[in-house]
């Protein structure tokens, strides 16, 4: 890494860390107002960070967040805002649950098939928004929000009318037919940490290589940074939109797989709920960069997991949720301020460097 890249990374990471600390400060004020002791809350959180079980749970919670943040971030890189990760995930969940339960395959292949089906169905649902944008100019923000509603209702209806297993009386929740053991994604630590974290990391690596290292990724970033310039250099804007939405949807399809293949092993109504939406916040905090997303997802996973501990100390566990929210807000504001400051700094330095060594 050369000096400029290093500096850029330091500024980016620094502004996110700053945002986290600002959020901690604001949360402390919120706690004080509600008459709780912020010191106790923070020390509880700090102690929780030393608890292996909490950390395993945090990683487990971070798994879907990493994937859904990658799905959102690849859209952002192209100036597309895919709010539809939740819907794409839900379509993929039911499709995969049904397909996976009705085929017989050896263990590894079965899991692989499930992942492929999830990606394909997620991409297909996202493809509707892509097609609408390319063919009809429909803004993807609108279409993906609407498609979320449609996906939720459609999946709920299909589940209720066709795929629910009524014979299964052992649990309270209605589910689809259970996946055979060959389709289960193995745990790393039994019942505490699922192996899907490896898939999540792989998704982040693929995302990084694809966007930052390949010609395709260069065109994608160019289209996002300046659509006019990309067009004038022969990048096909519509094709880029369609392809990036499809990739985003494919990632989105994987979001629910930790819950489906690694935990419940059947579809049920609230499975993996909200994880598609939460990815937006993680992508923002992680600055749409794989490494940033990795740490942001871990932080959010940790806050979610540690909130249980807060309750034991008579501190409402919602404080963790509030903290996540404030972090995201702080990130958005601080990033913008830091970017302006840094842009001016770079400009000044470039000018200064030139005056030292006149051409």
């Amino acid at each position: 890494m050369n000096r400029q890249t290093l500096q850029r990374t330091a500024v980016t990471a620094g502004s996110s860390v700053l945002a986290v600390f600002v959020a901690l400060g604001i949360s402390a004020i919120v706690l004080l107002i509600t008459g709780k002791d912020p010191a106790k809350a923070f020390s509880t959180l700090f102690e929780a960070a030393g608890d292996t079980k909490v950390l395993q749970g945090a990683v487990n919670r971070a798994t879907p967040l990493m994937i859904s943040a990658a799905a959102v971030a690849i859209g952002f890189k192209m100036n597309l805002f895919n709010i539809g990760v939740e819907g794409q995930m839900r379509v993929a969940l039911l499709t995969t649950a049904v397909v996976g339960a009705n085929v017989t395959l050896p263990p590894v292949l079965h899991v692989l098939l499930c992942l492929i089906v999830a990606m394909a169905s997620g991409a297909a649902w996202a493809g509707i928004a892509g097609w609408l944008k390319v063919k009809r100019g429909v803004n993807e923000v609108i279409s993906t929000i609407m498609l979320n509603f449609i996906a939720l209702s459609l999946v709920a209806w299909a589940f209720d009318d066709f795929f629910r297993e009524d014979e299964n009386t052992t649990t309270v929740l209605v589910k689809t037919k259970e996946l055979p053991r060959s389709a289960w994604f193995p745990d790393i630590v039994d019942r505490r940490l699922n192996g899907m974290i490896m898939v999540a990391i792989l998704v982040l690596v693929v995302f990084w290589v694809l966007v930052w290292k390949t010609r395709f990724g260069f065109r994608l970033r160019a289209s996002g940074a300046n659509a006019g310039a990309a067009r004038a250099t022969g990048v096909h804007p519509k094709r880029m939109i369609l392809v990036s939405i499809l990739i985003s949807g494919a990632f989105a399809g994987l979001v629910g797989m930790r819950a489906l293949l690694g935990d419940v092993h059947a579809y049920q109504n609230n499975l993996a709920e909200q994880q598609g939406f939460n990815g937006i916040a993680v992508a923002l905090l992680g600055r749409n960069h794989p490494l940033g997303i990795f740490f942001a997802a871990l932080l959010f996973g940790f806050l979610g997991e540690a909130s249980g501990k807060l309750q034991l100390e008579d501190i409402p566990k919602e404080i963790a949720t509030i903290m996540s929210g404030i972090i995201v807000l702080a990130v958005v504001i601080i990033n913008e301020a830091v970017k302006r400051w840094n842009d001016r700094r770079i400009q000044r330095r470039a000018a200064a460097a030139l005056e030292e060594a006149p051409a």
Binding site: N2, N226, A232, G234, H236, R348, R349, A351
Partner: protein, 517 residues
């Protein structure tokens, strides 16, 4: 100095010793301007001479590094346009800033809505005031008309109304005639004349068109290379005199041309391109054009006469309604942009920031733009970062781009250096035919000479160049042939050895058509 100022009446605007620096470039230095009240005062200069920088200073869009601004005798500091508006200064921008789907009235009051009682919009009062203004201006259209349905000239009138509605006594118009047809230009000056003679307002008029300046303006201040070089009146000068003041005395020398018929590298036949609005007249009609090996064909024309659309058609960015495009001997009418670029076409776009650069990306990614198919810069599906950066350093060195390194983001460079980078990138593909739109727009004089030298050298080595420029001296100095575009058509072809800016001007405004040979 300006003559005939009645003693006791303060100048409407007086700028003294204004300096404005941007990183790497001094945009204005030692600018002095005295505008008499109740006059139309023209600021003329070439593209990139610093006219717009100066006007932005006066309108509070940025602050000068040195110098003083006096308005009607009082020294002022403008921190923002709001301050300038408070000092009764109004600006009509070159690019209209109107909301298309709002009515004329709504556009005019937008941002300074009259209220009655508890924040209720007083449309009746606004409408009454607007009608009064329209009457005094001699404009006549229904204030409830949506702006979208107005023509260009009328929209400009709405912009002027907007400024007047805010009580401006001093109006700045930034190249207002660039978008107008001659008929509309006349109407505009009629309007401005009323403002000045009937109402005693002052107009500062930025232009690079000598004709209109000489016909309609009271005083003329010439800006060259960032500084005011003279103030004169139409009585004391003529076109020749103004042109010499604008460009300095040494115009580029049209030389080094050999008569021959080398192969054609770009051929347009009967090209027709649709206009921006469906159903409107075509933007380009029946254009026939040939560029040969080692030939520069200049396209002269007032901006907005189809040059942009013609370039887009050659690049394959917009579909043709009729006709064909042939690049280096093969028919490319239906080929996509990448195929055309790969067959030896290069493009210096009209607006480097909008179409040529990724401002937040480092320079090496900018020089890679559009060249990510080049096997020398890639390894299979991957970008070869090391080689792309080395290549970028080569371009930076060769074109004298002033930058600390290729890692600097493009926004940190001055306009001239950004332009050199774009030119360097487009030449790096060793093109056979270059479409160069305003290759030296907004570039300082040194960079301009460097870019001209590179273009000439490439031409001598066999490059065919289609040169679109608003800088008539550039056209005359570089071109082997000049064609004039007016209203979407090629209306004349001229020999640059016989062309003068004045002659070109008459063709460009459609006053004359046909062959100038």
């Amino acid at each position: 100095m300006v003559e005939g100022i009645p003693s006791g009446t303060p100048l409407a605007v007086e700028l003294t010793g204004i300096w404005k620096r941007f990183p790497g470039v001094v945009a204005n230095h030692d600018v002095n301007l005295q505008v008499r009240p109740g006059t139309i005062h023209a600021i003329v200069g070439e593209n990139g001479a610093g006219k717009s920088t100066l006007m932005k200073t006066l309108y509070g869009m940025h602050q000068p590094d040195e110098g003083t601004i006096r308005v009607e005798g009082d020294e002022k500091t403008f921190r923002s346009p709001t301050d300038a508006i408070a000092a009764d200064i109004g600006m009509v921008h070159q690019h209209f800033m109107l909301a298309d789907n709002l009515s004329v009235l709504e556009n005019v009051i937008l941002g300074s809505e009259p209220v009655r009682g508890r924040g209720r919009l007083d449309l009746a009062e606004a409408s009454r005031r607007l009608r009064g203004l329209m009457k005094s201006l001699g404009v006549d259209f229904d204030p409830s008309t949506p702006v979208a349905s107005l023509g260009v000239g009328q929209r400009q009138r709405v912009e002027i109304l907007k400024v007047l509605y805010r009580g401006a006594r001093i109006l700045i118009l930034d190249e207002p005639t660039a978008v107008l047809v001659p008929q509309e230009v006349e109407e505009l000056f009629e309007t401005l004349g009323r403002l000045v003679s009937d109402e005693g307002r002052t107009v500062i008029f930025i232009s690079h068109k000598l004709d209109e300046v000489l016909t309609y303006c009271d005083d003329i201040t010439v800006i060259r290379q960032g500084t005011t070089v003279a103030t004169t009146t139409p009585r004391d000068t003529d076109r020749r005199g103004l042109a010499e003041l604008m460009v300095g005395s040494n115009l580029p020398d049209p030389s080094g041309r050999r008569p021959r018929q080398p192969p054609v590298v770009l051929r347009c036949r009967g090209v027709e391109v649709a206009g921006a609005i469906p159903g409107a007249k075509s933007a380009v009609e029946a254009v026939n054009l040939e560029v040969r090996v080692a030939e520069v064909v200049g396209v002269a024309g007032v901006e907005g006469n189809g040059q942009f659309e013609l370039c887009e058609a050659i690049l394959g960015l917009v579909p043709l309604l009729a006709g064909s495009v042939e690049i280096v001997g093969s028919d490319m009418t239906h080929a996509d942009t990448r195929t055309r670029l790969a067959s030896g076409l290069s493009y210096i776009p009209f607006d480097r920031q909008r179409e040529g650069l990724l401002l937040d990306a480092p320079l090496w990614e900018n020089t890679l733009l559009g060249r990510d198919d080049d096997p020398a810069l890639t390894s299979g599906p991957f970008i070869n970062k090391r080689r792309a950066q080395a290549d970028s350093r080569t371009i930076i060195a060769r074109y004298g781009v002033r930058t600390p390194s290729e890692q600097v983001p493009a926004f940190a460079l001055s306009g001239g250096n950004q332009q050199k980078l774009v030119v360097g990138r487009e030449m790096a593909t060793n093109p056979r035919i270059l479409v160069a739109a305003h290759p030296t727009r907004g570039v300082d004089v040194g960079a301009q000479a460097a870019i001209w030298d590179e273009l000439r050298r490439a031409r001598d080595e066999g490059l065919g160049i289609l040169l679109i420029s608003a800088d008539l001296e550039e056209l005359i100095g570089l071109s082997d042939r000049i064609v004039v575009m007016f209203d979407g058509r090629i209306t004349a072809e001229l020999d640059p050895r016989q062309a003068t800016p004045e002659l070109l001007g008459t063709y460009m405004t459609g006053e004359m058509q046909g062959s100038g040979r």
